[in-house]
Each structure stands twice: as C-alpha cells, then as structure tokens.
Amino acid sequence: MTTTANMSAKQQPSQVYFFGTCLIDLFYPEAGLSAIELLEREGIQVHYPQAQTCCGQPAFNSGYNDEAIAVAAKQIELLSDPIPVIVPSASCAAMMKHHYPTLFENHPMSSKANELASRVYELTEFLVRVLDISLTDKGTPVKIAMHTSCSARREMAVTEDGFSLIRQLKNVSIVEPERASECCGFGGTFAIKQPEISAAMAEDKCQAIHNTGASKMISGDCGCLMNLNGVMEKTNRGIKGEHLASFIIDRTRT
C-alpha cells in the first residue's frame, strides 16, 4: 500500500476539515454527505466550517487573480487548525494544494497558504493512502465506466486511488472508456466561453462512455459530472454519472 511521505496509515489523524466545494454544495450535496460518512465511518471527526464558500479556482483560471486571492484568503483563514483538509474533487484540491502557493507568492499570507497546501488531500487519496480503508461490497453486480478528471490524473496524480477503491467492490466491474485521458471539455469557464469546442469534447466523451456498455458512470469530480450528465440527459443516452463517494456509500452501507 502506498503511503505519503509524512503520514502513514499508522499515524491516522483523528480530525479533518471537509471542504465541500461550491459545485457539490449547490448541485451534488449528497456526494458531500457520502464523503463525510465514509470518513466518519473510519472513526474520524469531520469539521465542516459553515463559512466556507469556494476555493477561488474559477477566477484564478480566468486570470482574475485579485478576486481569486480575496476569496481564497477567506478559506485559508477558516481552515487554520493543523489538521488535514479533505476535498472531494481533484480540481479544487489541486487549486488549494498546487496553485495557492503560486497565487499567494509575494503576498502577506504566503506562508499560511503554503502551510494549508501541505495539508490538502483529495478524498480518494486520503481514503487510500492515509486511511488505507477496506470496503465490503453489498451491492448487486454492475458494470461501471470510470471517468477520471484531468486534475485527478495530472495535477493530483490520484487516478489510481479511485480505481483501487472501486476494485475492492467485488461485484463491480470497471470499464475505461476510449481515450480515457482526454479532457471532457468542462474546464470551468471554458465550457461557457467556448461552448462549441467544449460540447464537441463532451459529446465525444459521452459517446465513448456509452460505447463501453456500462450502466453507470462514476467520477470523483463534480465538474465533469455536471458537464457529462448534462450531455447524456440532453441526448437521452440513459447513463447517469454519480460521484464516487455516493456510489461507494450506497454499496457498502449496512
């Protein structure tokens, strides 16, 4: 089992922060609840600061750094205790872990930003590498298509963690769609600013998922889910995407 350098399965933290992300908050709260349940089931006390809003990524990716800093600074302040921060979305986790340090370079809060960054974990990364959790499948046989986000793949390098969790579910068979590593076309404001290109990308991705013959699509990122579910629904493809945490909770609940 892989463990991160500074935290092994033996030194389990007893408390964590949960950063829900703005998309989950408004559109997929059940994914957030499921993730929290997964953590609590492992005996971890989960803190959910009510003052959290958004990691600041939309503004940052659009080149509006001042606005991104203003919002990010609030999150840094309210996640100040030295405990892990768990983020159920690789792109928001990557924002906090990899982009806060550059965003806050030469800023008075620079050291706080770096300190926070060092405590940020993507959900599956934390479940697998820190908690080393084991899952018992209670569901009926199902074939799912895994969609891994670009941030999970490249910025956070946690693709394998998602897979290893699902592989523990003995009645679930995983199929990977063709060109799995290619972007689904969401890219936050990219989908709004370049709707045509984005749609072409999303459409290809949905077709590839459809071609797998899977009855469900699972992803750890709600941005991708929102994008792909929107296309699936519009084109009546009959496949629905679900957040990995919800999927796992549903199949492992007693």
Binding site: G20, D25, L26, F27, Y28, P29, E30, G32, I36, Q45, V46, H47, Y48, P49, Q50, A51, T53, C54, G56, P58, A59, N61, S62, G63, Y64, E67, A70, V71, K74, T102, C150, R153, R154, E155, R179, E182, C183, G185, F186, G187, G188, F190, A191, I192, Q194, P195, E196, I197, S198, A199, A200, M201, A202, E203, M226, N227, G230, V231, E233, K234
Partner: protein, 477 residues
Amino acid sequence: MNNHFREQAIDALADPQLRDNFRGAMDFLRAKRQSAFTDTEALKQLRALGHKIKANTLARLPDLLEQLEQNCLQNGIQVHWAETPEQACEVIHNIISAQNGQLAVKGKSMVSEEVGLNHYLEKRGIESLESDMGEYIVQLANETPSHIIMPAIHKSKEQIAHLFEDKIEGVDYTDNVDELIGTGRQILREKFSQADVGISGVNFAVAETGTLCLVENEGNGRMCTTVPSTHIAITGIEKVVATLDDIPPLLSLLTRSATGQNISTYFNMISSPRKTGEKDGPQSVHLVLLDNGRSRMYQDENLQQTLRCIRCGACMNHCPVYSRIGGHAYGTVYPGPIGQVVMPQIDGLDKQGEMTEGCSLNGACGEVCPVEIPLPNLIRKLREQKSAKPDGHALTPGAGSQRKPKEAFAWSLWQTLYGQPWLYRFVTKMATRLRHASPRAIGGWTRYRTAPKPAPKSLHELMSQRAEANQTDGASK
C-alpha cells in the same frame, strides 16, 4: 491579424472531413510517442535533463549567443542579427539579390513562416519554393502550415491527390501515396539544381563549435544546404545550446516527442561553407538570428520558460482542442498550446489574447512537453495579463487591452458573493428554494446540455441541520 478564434473554431468544428483528418492523425501520433517512451522512469529523467539543459542555456543566453557568433565567424559562417520580421526578410533578400538570385529552395522552417519570408521574397520577384513535402503541399494549396511538424496533416491523401491533379501540369488523379510523393520529388529534384539559394531553419545552434544542426526525414534539407551556392539559415535566438554534449538528449526528446522516431533519418551538422578541396557544399553560409519579441519574453521569469521550446509539436498532438479544430483555426503561425503561449507574446495580447481562451487547462500539453514547459500555467498567466488592470507591470505588449468592463464586473460580483459567507449562504439557499424556477437556458451551455438544477438543500444547509440534530459542536466549527 485575427482575434476571431472562436468563429474560426466553430467553422472548423463544422467540417467533418477536417475533424476526421485531425482525429486520426493525432491518435496516430499519440500512439507513436507512447511507443517511443515505454520506460516511464527513463522518460521522467530525460525530460528533467532536457529541462535542465535548456534552462542552463537560457541562464547564459546573451553570452552563448556571442560565443556562437564568434565561432560561426571563425568557421566562415556569416552572422546577421534581426530584431523584427522585416529586418530578417530584408537581410535575406539582400543576400539573395547581391548575387542576382531568382530561385530559392527552402527546407522546413517555422521561423521563416513567422517572418513571412515567402511572401516577402515573392513580392520582390524571387521564387521561394518549399521542398519539405508537407510544406510543398501547403504552398501548392496556397495555405499556411496547420502543424509545426506536419504542415499538411489537415489534408487526406484524396485531398492531396486532387490538389496535385489541379495544380501540377500533366499529373492525373491518383491517391497512391508513393506515386504522389514520387511526383513531388521529381519536381523538387529539378528545382534543387536550378536554385541560387537554399534556405533552412536550425534545430540547434551549438555555441562552443559554431555548428548548425538540422533534423529532417526527407533529405530535402540536406539538398537545400548543399546544392545551391548559398545557404541561408534562419532561427530564433533561443535555439542556441552551449555544447555538443547537449545535443544527444535534446535530439532524442525531439524526435521521439514529435513523431515517435528514435532518431530522424537525417541529422545535418553544418559548420562551414565548402572548404578548398571539398566536392560539395555552398560557397557561402549565412546565419540569421531572429529576436522578434524573444528578448522581451526573456525578461519575465515566468514567461521566459516559453523559450525552452524545441518545437516538437507534442503539445498540439495531445491537446484536445487542437485535435478537434486543427491548426488553421488559431489563425496564427504557431498553433495549439505553444502557439497560445508564444503568439500573444510576439504579436501582442491585443491581437492574439483571445486564443488563450481556447484551453480547458486540462494539462495534457504540460504533461508531454519534453522540456517540461508548464504550458497551462503560462496560458493562465497570459489570461491574467490580457485582462489586467491598466496599472499592471506586464511586459507583454497589449497587456490589459482585453479587460472587458462587463467581465471585470462579473468577477467583482463573484468576489462579493463568495467572499462573504452569510451572503453566499443566503443566495444558495434562495437558489435551492427556487430550484424549479432556475433558468432552463444558460447561453452556450444549454445548447448542448441540460441545465443543472440546484439540489433541494445545499450541503451547507444539510450540515447545519445535522449539527443541530446531533447537538454536538463537532460538526460546525
């Protein structure tokens, strides 16, 4: 020049033949690259080395350029400096007209495209014929390259067959690739012997020895640099490397990233004009070193990374946007991710800022770049500069020129909403309560997707309910 990236992209998306051509070609090139780098650990080390070599080179760029000039001169290669495209064209034109040249044959060179050399020479009565097969096809079609390594990749063999049939006298339609190439070759062979001047690019210019290195597959580059009596090489100043030892790793990264080849068919090292007693080679060799904004990029510690590029094209091959719209949609000399980084810095953000929006920041380009250029970060940086407040200190020309009041206002609203938790909670609560009244059409989004509907209750709300129910302080802090 353009600034119509989105419109051009829409046109490209509507062309099924074009989309097929690109999709097929990019899938092929991705697979080729992957099969050339099977050992991921070795690739990691090699990329790190490539990064280091280029970074070290850049750190000493002014010195190395001086050393290159000295050694070239010593070898008998004449060196010319050009700050602008016009200067570069003028220098080349002067060299050609000094010997009453009429015909130039050209090897592949993106820098010559960058300065618009063919056009410049043709306007002055000098024929400048492309001799790389892809470039030749593109020139015949009166188009520009759509890829920096494979200029005619946007065309199918049937399209090329029609082009040859239409444009070349006495050629009948055939989509047999060997025959097509044979036709092109025959025409070019003749031209090589008639040409007064050969023009080429440079892949690496070695400072310690004054050697110009040229990577190619067709042999036309060697013809251009040996048959005509004059050889003119043109390159950007960033192509200098310190020593010959730097070449093997960079070359290995270049050919494998570009086409999946372990080594190219030809690797030319030019270190002087023809010496007495030698049977071939040009009487004179010229090197034109082009700046065109590069020394400005050099001054910004982030954007300077742009200059590490060895022009392998891997970033375009892996870009999901480029794969779908092709190179012409960018309307620029360099397309794709590196184009999005380099063009706004050359032409200015006012002219080319829009193309930075053609990116979902998925990171595939940065992942494959053999010299580890953080392309997504640089694209983001340029987005920042293009809409920067007027008091910004950005060096890039046109910084702040695309700050749109409406957009800036939207982001300040965003900041207000997400910067104040009570307001955020109030607004999201309203959104959940009014979820059935949420907009069914949201611009471009709902043209292709259904609109997402807010959940009945937000996670914030669910969590505070839970905290109340549990009567513990553990859930809210």
